[in-house]
């Protein structure tokens, strides 16, 4: 335990409030974009599957995100995290005066930490599966998907970039939330006390 403990008292300054609000809005947009782009990711293509004599046999194949459980997890997790951000934005804007009541700041910090780990897991699972689809795996004899379904892969790539931006933004949001738990006497806006046992 460190030698000095800092008591919780009122939340951070208005500067940290504005920073947190801006970061949350960006994280909400990023994760929502990732969820929507991957959720609407679908491509149907007619491919030649085999050739009998001189007659090629065509089959219509569809690549959709529901085929892969990792992408389903990706869509659901990003939707959940964007909903969490929306809720926190609403809480921040509409009840600014009540921030120091009870466990509000602590529960916001804990929820932010849990959600940032969730979106990190979802983005990472999807990126490794996408890498398998793009490069294949010759040890396991899994062939590439991206050379035939290029639009599907492009949309997936966009969703992954948005999700990783969301991961970085959620990490920043968690850090700012944690720092708002403790008060520095130089920048406090309500009464605070620093105890040194």
């Amino acid at each position: 335990m460190p030698g000095e403990k800092i008591l919780l008292a009122g939340g951070g300054t208005s500067k940290s409030w504005k920073l947190l609000l801006a970061l949350r809005i960006l994280a909400f947009i990023a994760t929502l974009a990732a969820a929507i782009v991957m959720g609407l990711n679908k491509e149907t293509k007619t491919l030649v599957v085999a050739t009998i004599g001189t007659i090629p046999i065509k089959a219509t194949l569809t690549a959709k995100f529901q085929d892969t459980p990792a992408f389903v997890f990706f869509v659901i997790a990003n939707a959940m995290v964007s909903f969490h951000n929306l809720l926190m934005i609403a809480l921040q804007i509409f009840s600014r005066k009540l921030e120091h009541k009870g466990f509000r700041l602590l529960s916001v910090a804990i929820l932010d930490m849990l959600n940032s780990t969730l979106v990190a897991a979802a983005a990472n699972a999807a990126v490794f599966i996408a890498e398998l689809g793009k490069n294949g795996n010759k040890h396991a004899k899994w062939n590439k998907v991206c050379d035939r379904f290029t639009t599907y892969c492009d949309h997936g790539r966009g969703a992954l970039i948005a999700a990783f931006a969301g991961v970085i933004l959620m990490l920043l949001v968690s850090s700012v939330s944690i720092s708002r738990l403790s008060i520095n006497s130089k920048k406090s806006s309500t009464a605070a006390a620093v105890a040194s046992p």
């Binding site: 997890f73 466990f103 990472n124 899994w142 998907v145």
Partner: protein, 164 residues
């Protein structure tokens, strides 16, 4: 006295997390199997899949970090930094576990729409060892979430337990 028990509890948690991450790392690294049929030899190692390599690297980083934090002295100012670093390590652990799990699921069940056949039928011992490594990684993750909450509690006193 309560402080001492809390501190010992935190040390035990971190030691357990270090052990779990190290176990996950070792079990994944030592998993390889050679299967041969019809004069075709198939060897499965953890380096075949990028997700398993990332799992090994992430657990190595977490093990080293846990080992270093075990020796952090009580009055150091770095404990405030440990909160954010614990969050980063938890994110690293979840992402590595999630990626390895996604790839292992494709290896076990295959993906009919992409034409990917499951490989677990041909190399069952490799699959079992990878499963064991993933379970150890999951235990390390749970312990790290608890450690994260504990570090938050020890640096900031949100329940106002310390009277001024």
């Amino acid at each position: 006295m309560v402080n001492l028990t809390k501190r010992i509890g935190a040390l035990v948690l971190r030691l357990a997390a270090f052990g779990a991450a190290l176990a996950a790392l070792i079990v994944m690294v030592t998993s390889h199997e050679r299967a041969s049929f019809f004069a075709v030899s198939l060897e499965a190692k953890y380096t075949d899949m990028a997700a398993f390599k990332y799992f090994v690297i992430a657990n190595a980083v977490v093990s080293v970090y846990s080992f270093l934090v075990l020796f952090l002295p009580k009055e150091s100012l770095l404990w405030k930094f440990v909160v954010v670093l614990d969050l980063v390590m938890t994110m690293l652990l979840t992402s590595s576990l999630s990626a390895a799990l996604a790839v292992a699921q494709v290896g076990k069940k295959g993906n009919a729409n992409a034409g990917w056949l499951p490989i677990c039928g041909q190399v069952p011992k490799f699959c079992d060892q990878v499963t064991g490594a993933l379970i150890a990684g999951f235990v390390a993750l749970v312990l790290y979430v608890l450690l994260l909450l504990y570090s938050l509690h020890s640096v900031v006193d949100p329940f106002l337990l310390q009277k001024s």
